[in-house]
Symmetry: C2
Subunit: 123 residues, 2 copies
């Protein structure tokens, strides 16, 4: 009976199991905090890259660099027993955010009188 309904099953769960679940979730929360702080540091780096690129008229995206990053991360993921396809999807997700930032920086730098998109609330 307890297995047929999720909330009931939850209430009936062994306190030792709940304690173990709590222990694992504490670790997950610690890891998430670490990842958020690592990514904050990563975006500080990519913001600097964005400014360098904008000031030296380099394109926001760099497909060759991205291909090398993806290849390297897939290898690292494999050695860490993480699904390489997931690592690739994640990097693409982060890179698309970075490119969005770089385009904003480039737009802000492209004209001494500001971005033409300002009028319509862009950038």
């Amino acid at each position: 009976m307890t297995n047929s309904n999720a909330p009931d099953a939850r209430d009936a769960v062994d306190p030792a199991v709940r304690a173990e679940l709590g222990r694992l979730r504490d670790s997950i929360d610690n890891i998430d905090a670490a990842v958020v702080h690592m990514l904050a540091e990563r975006f500080k780096c990519t913001q600097q890259v964005g400014h360098l690129k904008a000031h030296h008229a380099l394109p926001p995206a760099d497909p060759a660099r991205e291909a090398r990053q993806i290849e390297r991360l897939r290898e690292l993921a494999e050695s860490a027993k993480l699904d390489p396809a997931f690592a690739e999807k994640l990097l693409n997700f982060i890179i698309s955010e970075v490119i969005r930032h770089h385009e904003q920086i480039a737009a802000d730098n492209s004209s001494p009188w500001g971005s033409p998109r300002t009028e319509s609330g862009g950038v």
Copy 2:
């Protein structure tokens, strides 16, 4: 002239700028390696959570826990000067992968004769 064409602009770039770009990219690569290893550890934890849930007939997804995680990560992101909306999208991206794993574990545990999806190459 050099600014009108991206590859030419790239070739013409100051060696000091290229060195600075290299330095920043080395940091980005180090951070990415750290994130991949943190996430490998995170998936080890969530796999254990998945097995606990499957063995005790708890549902794979837990909306109340996820809402608390998102709220906490948005606060952490803000204090680390990371876009909270990005942190939330990222966590949702990771959670959807975790739920996929949990559903696989639950399917593998649901029947003593194995998953009905095995025949069609699933799970």
